[in-house]
Symmetry: C2
Subunit: 129 residues, 2 copies
DNA sequence: TTTTCTTCCTTGCAAAATACAAGTGACCAT
DNA sequence: ATGGTCACTTGTATTTTGCAAGGAAGAAAA
């Protein structure tokens, strides 16, 4: 059973307007959430793997975001081994469908932010998993 | 001359990693910034128009985001009349190239968030400006 | 069997960002 | 002079974030 604190942005999913952009931002509009989706698309899935990503997400933020994404149906948590039990998060179809958003960000970042890792390099990592 | 406070996320544009997604999120990763880009794509441009959008951005946040987007070269500010002088913000090429990001969010929102305004309706508004 | 290790978090607290309300200055019209 | 609009700025309370430490549940090592 997932416990999620009732903070302002967790209560109502579409509280500001009916604009799809606004609704998406209420769920994903912060500096960390889409980074988790990125990690999942790159083949990462455990709590420890997320923590080890180079951006260094704080562990309490990580736990909170994972809960929120589960509640939203973007990710699921499942044990991948017993003795000891270990968990892996994975994207649902709903979560995988965020790829176009990430993809557009990659293109924009590659074009306008100097020194970013290229789409080709990222796709190589994705293919290698 | 634009004054921008030196807050953590304003100092360095790419401080966490070279990942384009991470860099884009450092600039745009919050609940308001992309809403301004949306408004600009929809034909809005003045401070008052941004304030009147249905999401109700706080005025100090609005001022701060406009400054940040200017410094980043995503938008520009120009007087559109004298006597009295009034200002209008508009997207640069760099800003307009964020449209694919918004577009992907619209698609995802329309598919997964019930009750959101459809892409067709949004495009009608854009065409009407 | 006590200690140590790993994974997956939780808790406490300081710092930063955000939200809300009110105020300010420039300019113009009356 | 007074009042209005636009484009912000300021003050302050609330919320969120960042950082460090702690903790439970096994498993492995001593």
């Amino acid at each position: 059973m997932i416990k999620v604190e009732k903070t302002a942005r967790n209560i109502e999913p579409c509280s500001r307007s009916k604009c799809p952009v606004s609704c998406v931002l209420e769920l994903l509009g912060d500096k960390w959430t889409l980074l988790l989706v990125r990690d999942l698309l790159l083949g990462k899935g455990t709590y420890t793997e997320f923590q080890q990503s180079p951006e260094g997400i704080p562990t309490n933020i990580l736990a909170e975001r994972l809960k929120r994404l589960q509640v939203a149906g973007v990710i699921e948590k499942a044990p991948y081994q017993e003795r000891p039990v270990r968990y892996r998060y994975h994207l649902t179809d709903k979560g995988r469908d965020l790829y176009p958003v990430l993809s557009a960000m990659i293109d924009w970042g590659n074009r306008y932010v100097e020194g970013t890792i290229s789409r080709a390099e990222i796709e190589a990592i994705m293919a290698a998993k």
